[in-house]
């Protein structure tokens, strides 16, 4: 950025502000009432203008590319069902000056403290209800008031550990709290990705401006969680509802970023009153659970019985103080919209303080005076369900703008409020401030709200210096909800002095010990094994199909015996060779993607993208490729991409238990497939050309030519593909690898060797001493079955 360059903003060759027209009566974040940029924005705009429209477009494309490469997505539910959608980054960050941020922070810390005390009172002595400050009926009716935890003090000593608040700036220039997130706030990981993407585009500008960094916030919270767990001697885990959740990407991202185990409800069990994770090394205690699912779903025994994603007994473990939930079950109560109406009084009662950052003015129609006020001022109100925990602007199903009601609706709503006032709240209709977005070469104002995160540390609440802004695509202030197509911008808190740079990397003076990864959850081990199996099964199928289509392209007779034999061989496996890309093959690969999707926290973004790319390719081929030559080429492309994916895993994955299960899955499947195919193509009645084809499927044509000075015969093919310990496609090779990896798996039960280790040792020895003539078709079929049986022993020992 050109410092000391005092060219005027107006009259520049490319004036980004030329078309910038804030709305009358609405505060704009970038320019003041007279249209001049605020100080914190001035240098930033100049720097953008200096880049010019072409470079800016390139820069912003770079940010989008980063998000695509990283595979950042969120899930949207619409009429077409659930879809993954790319993260909609609004490229221009929202800039906030440090002093203003300090005021916001102070207000939110006060709020978080107040919420903590309020929840502790509601689930404890209930003084607020007794004194008539909180209506008992409102609490009792809330689905977030969880009776099974009433009277339970959290083991950690606190109910709240991680909160988010949604803020908006009103026409008077003040910030208001639009909504409170105390249940399981989402988006902190997206804030981090927003930052990375935005700085990809604007690294030089970011570097020049003194922008507060985000990493320290996450480090402090991770340390706090680990500290809590240390006290009780268990682990920290993140609990996710699973890959179908709208923000699963973020759960996996945070888990990977902070190095915390990501679990689903079925990974957990309660034993002896303690919460345990099922791992391949047995049950391991979990003492801190950062839950990303709503409390009501956490335990089907005591909360919602229909929940499929909970852990039976969790509530009991919490009552016994064996585990701390972040946040405590029941904390979602503070999100209740009507609660805002009581906060000022609660603050005076509990803390003898006024709220530094008030909520949008709220009236609960269950009180006669409030109801009368709402009815008298309906045109300035947003009316919604009192017990809703959704943010008003996201809740267009049930939240109505008083001034937008037509006569009939209005009369109906008034009648409803008069009948059952307790069901409704009125909230002052707010106008959000606007912030610039870059549209077609110019900046334009759009309404925005701000989401800010707070985390509890032993030293008190820490505020993420930033967060993200939700920005509308249009000037409609309700159109900023992500589910409805809003966009998200990074938030830069700008200082006039250099800021402290923090990273997650350990500091020089920190002691350094290399620790092995924690225990692998059983479900993750199972998914890794199946990922290995599905990938290998895809590869083996593709090899056979390629060998088939090469011959089909050259054959005069599509029903020649060898081709017919392959057709009959594949048919029972659901592979119909008449279709160039058989649905059975696509299904296998889809299963691989599914298995990988269950364990995204264990994948590098590169691995995931390679797999998605593979899946996209095969689905495309399915509609375009014809049998014969065309299919041969397609199979070669798929093989290459499979090899790319396998290579990524093989070269980049840390060689510990997780990798071991993936490898075992691969080797098992390859052993089974080779044995089965060999049994078929080397049987006495096999058609002409079967042995050559077998060598091709086993990728061993050249080796065979070098090793044996003779034509491929049954004996030489068996020797090379079953008994040669140096051929990575031979069965013996798979068994040797399996023996080595299974021996390194965690010990199970008593005795020196696990059943699986014994089985593989026996099998390996039995095959190692065999002669080619022993390996009849039947012996090969039996061998395939025995290798398959190994999986069952492993599953019993590790995935139960």
């Amino acid at each position: 950025m050109a410092k000391g360059n005092h060219r005027k903003i107006r009259g520049r060759p490319h004036n980004l502000l030329e078309h910038y027209q804030p709305i009358d009566g609405v505060v704009d974040e970038m320019v003041d009432a007279s249209g001049n940029p605020r100080p914190v924005w001035k240098d930033f705009i100049e720097a953008l203008e200096e880049l010019g429209p072409e470079k800016l477009a390139q820069r912003f494309a770079r940010a989008d590319q980063y998000l695509r490469d990283a595979g950042v997505y969120y899930r949207v539910y619409d009429k077409a069902g659930a879809n993954e959608r790319e993260w909609p980054l609004a490229h221009v960050p929202l800039l906030i000056e440090e002093q203003e941020w300090a005021a916001i922070s102070a207000g939110l810390v006060q709020r978080a403290e107040l919420f903590e005390e309020t929840i502790a009172d509601i689930y404890g002595p209930n003084r607020l209800v007794e004194k008539g400050i909180l209506p008992a009926g409102l609490i009792a009716a809330s689905p977030e008031y969880l009776r099974p935890v009433v009277g339970t003090r959290p083991a950690s000593g606190h109910f709240l550990h991680f909160c988010a608040f949604e803020l908006g700036r009103g026409p008077d220039g003040r910030w208001w709290v639009l909504g409170d997130r105390t249940q399981a706030p989402s988006g902190a990981g997206f804030a981090l990705e927003n930052r990375v993407a935005t700085t990809r585009a604007l690294s030089d500008i970011y570097g020049e401006m003194h922008v507060h960094r985000l990493a320290g916030f996450f480090r402090r919270f991770r340390d706090a969680l680990n500290g809590m767990a240390k006290v009780s001697g268990g682990r920290v885990a993140i609990l996710t509802p699973g890959p179908l959740n709208e923000t699963y990407y973020e759960h996996a991202y945070i888990a990977r970023y902070l190095g915390i185990m990501l679990l689903e409800g079925e990974d957990l069990t309660v034993s002896g009153g303690r919460l345990m994770v099922r791992t391949v090394s047995g049950l391991m205690p979990v003492s801190v659970l950062w839950r990303r699912l709503d409390a009501a779903f956490a335990d089907p025994l005591e909360l919602r019985p229909e929940s499929q994603i909970g852990t039976p007994g969790l509530v009991e473990a919490i009552r016994r103080g064996a585990v701390s939930a972040v946040n405590a079950l029941g904390s979602g109560l503070m999100e209740t919209r009507a609660m805002s109406a009581f906060l000022p009084k609660i603050s005076r009662e509990l803390r003898n303080e006024e709220l530094l950052l008030p909520s949008v003015a709220t009236w609960w129609c269950g009180r006669d005076t409030d109801r009368d006020h709402v009815l008298a001022n309906l045109d300035h109100m947003v009316i919604g369900p009192a017990l809703s925990t959704r943010l008003a602007f996201e809740d267009d199903d049930c939240t109505r703008l008083g001034s937008a009601l037509v006569a009939g609706e209005r009369a109906e709503l008034i009648a409803q409020i008069e009948r059952g006032g307790g069901d409704f709240v009125g909230q002052e209709a707010v106008t959000l401030s606007t912030t610039p977005v870059y549209v077609g070469g110019w900046l334009e104002p759009r309404p925005a709200s701000l989401r800010v995160y707070l985390a509890r540390t032993p030293e008190g609440w820490t505020v993420m210096p930033g967060g993200f802004a939700r920005v509308g695509f249009s000037l409609d202030p309700t159109a900023i909800a992500m589910q409805r197509g809003g966009q998200a911008a990074d938030v830069w808190v700008v200082s006039d002095r250099p800021v402290e740079r923090e990273t997650l990397l350990p500091q020089e003076h920190d002691s350094f010990t290399r620790t092995l990864p924690g225990s692998l959850p059983s479900r993750a081990a199972e998914n890794l094994t199946w990922l290995g199996r599905y990938i290998e099964r895809s590869e083996d199928t593709v090899r056979i199909l390629r060998a088939y289509h090469v011959r089909l392209a050259e054959a005069s007779d599509p029903d020649m015996p060898l081709l017919a034999d392959i057709r009959d061989y594949l048919e029972p496996f659901g592979i119909d060779v008449a279709t160039a890309i058989p649905p059975g093959l696509i299904g296998t690969l889809d299963s691989a993607v599914y298995s990988a999707g269950q364990i995204r926290d264990r994948f590098s973004p590169d691995g995931w993208l390679a797999l998605k790319d593979l899946s996209k390719t095969i689905h495309q081929f399915a509609t375009t490729v014809a049998p014969g030559d065309d299919a041969t080429r397609a199979m070669t492309v798929i093989l290459r991409k499979l090899a790319g994916f396998s290579g990524l895993l093989h070269e980049n994955m840390y060689r510990f238990t997780g990798w071991r299960f993936l490898e075992i899955g691969r080797r098992l499947e390859r052993g089974i497939q080779i044995a089965r195919t060999l049994a078929r193509l080397t049987r006495a009645a096999a058609p002409d050309g079967a042995l050559d084809m077998m060598l091709e499927i086993g990728d061993s044509v050249m080796t065979h030519r070098r090793q044996y000075p003779v034509q491929a015969g049954r004996r030489t093919v068996i020797d090379l593909l079953v008994l040669d310990p140096l051929n990575p496609r031979s069965i013996l090779f798979q068994l040797e690898r399996l023996k080595a990896e299974i021996a390194l798996l965690p010990a199970v039960g008593e005795g020196h060797m696990s059943p699986a280790a014994k089985e593989i040792l026996q099998l390996n020895t039995a095959i190692a001493i065999k002669e080619p003539s022993d390996m009849t078709a039947k012996a090969l079929d039996d061998l395939a079955t025995e290798i398959g049986g190994l999986y069952n022993s492993l599953a019993k020992a590790y995935f139960g």
């Binding site: 008992a136 009926g137 609490i139 009792a140 009776r147 034993s271 009153g273 025994l301 019985p305």
Partner: protein, 294 residues
């Protein structure tokens, strides 16, 4: 009245259940002014690998059990000796619905007995326009008279039918069917009262059945029973009504649990790892004890 009560719940699983966790609510508590438990025991076969006992929010006795090993049946036996002595209902001094609401607003409490827990819709007893309209026909000059009338009407207008509904049936569905069992009758009455603004809850327990004249009492022929509690204002407090029999709860009613509806007091809830179905059986004996004069 003094009773010996025996309950046997038995579940047979098609496929062996590979472990599981349950909460069992079958042990009657001592309730001041209603009943006193002299002795009670609860046993399970096979023996669970874990067992703990606690009191839930509403004060119900809960036994939490877990099985680590596979089992293909679960047998639960409860026996208890309980003395029941309910006060005779006094003169009706309960307020009308408008005054009831004022008295309710004045109750600043979330204690387990607070009427506030029993006014909002709950899973099985939601507020339903049709049921509310039906209940309005009973709205009288006092909360008690309203409850009495609604209790009698439900008894009269609905048909007892053990086949029509299941434990999952909600008040609105049973209302449409015009039939059901004690659970459904209770849910309909609760939903109706809540619709009128009167707090109402669900009571589970046992009922002594009196055999037809000249016939012996059939052992194990009884089932668990359910009825309704109604908050009738500050002075009158909770009153209990049995809409299945069109009567007030009497000394023949032995209480096991209180809740907002059936789901708060289900005798057994649990999660089993099994692929097959399960079949449950229930046998109840309520035997009046006549103590020999010393």
């Amino acid at each position: 009245m003094l009773y010996d009560i025996r309950l046997n719940l038995r579940y047979d699983y098609d496929a062996a259940a590979g472990g599981g966790r349950h909460q069992v609510r079958v042990l009657p508590p001592t309730i001041s002014g209603v009943q006193r438990v002299i002795a009670a025991s609860l046993s399970f076969a096979p023996a669970p690998s874990e067992r703990s006992d606690f009191s839930d929010f509403f004060g119900n006795n809960v036994t939490s059990i877990a099985f680590r090993d596979a089992h293909d049946a679960l047998d639960i036996r409860m026996s208890a000796r309980v003395a029941v002595s309910r006060p005779e209902p006094g003169l009706d001094v309960s307020p009308d619905i408008r005054r009831l609401r004022e008295e309710l607003d004045a109750v600043r409490s979330l204690s387990p007995g607070s009427p506030h827990h029993f006014l909002a819709a709950s899973d099985h007893a939601g507020i339903d326009a049709a049921i509310t309209a039906y209940a309005r026909g009973s709205a009288g000059s006092s909360a008690v008279s309203t409850a009495v009338d609604l209790c009698n009407r439900v008894h009269r207008d609905f048909t007892y039918d053990g086949e029509a509904t299941t434990v999952q049936t909600r008040a609105s569905d049973a209302f449409d069917l015009r039939r059901g069992v004690c659970q459904d009758f209770s849910h309909i009455m609760i939903a109706g009262l809540r619709g009128l603004g009167i707090p109402a809850g669900y009571v589970s327990g046992f009922l002594r059945t009196i055999p037809p004249r000249g016939k012996p009492r059939l052992e194990g022929a009884d089932a668990m029973h359910a009825w309704v509690k109604v908050w009738c204002g500050r002075d009158t407090g909770w009153q209990e009504f049995d809409p299945t029999n069109g009567m007030r709860a009497s000394n023949d009613h032995i209480t096991v649990g209180h809740g907002r509806d059936y789901s708060d007091v289900a005798p057994i809830v649990g999660v089993l790892k099994t692929t097959g179905g399960q079949v449950g059986e229930q046998a109840v004996d309520v035997i009046p004890v006549v103590l020999e004069k010393a």
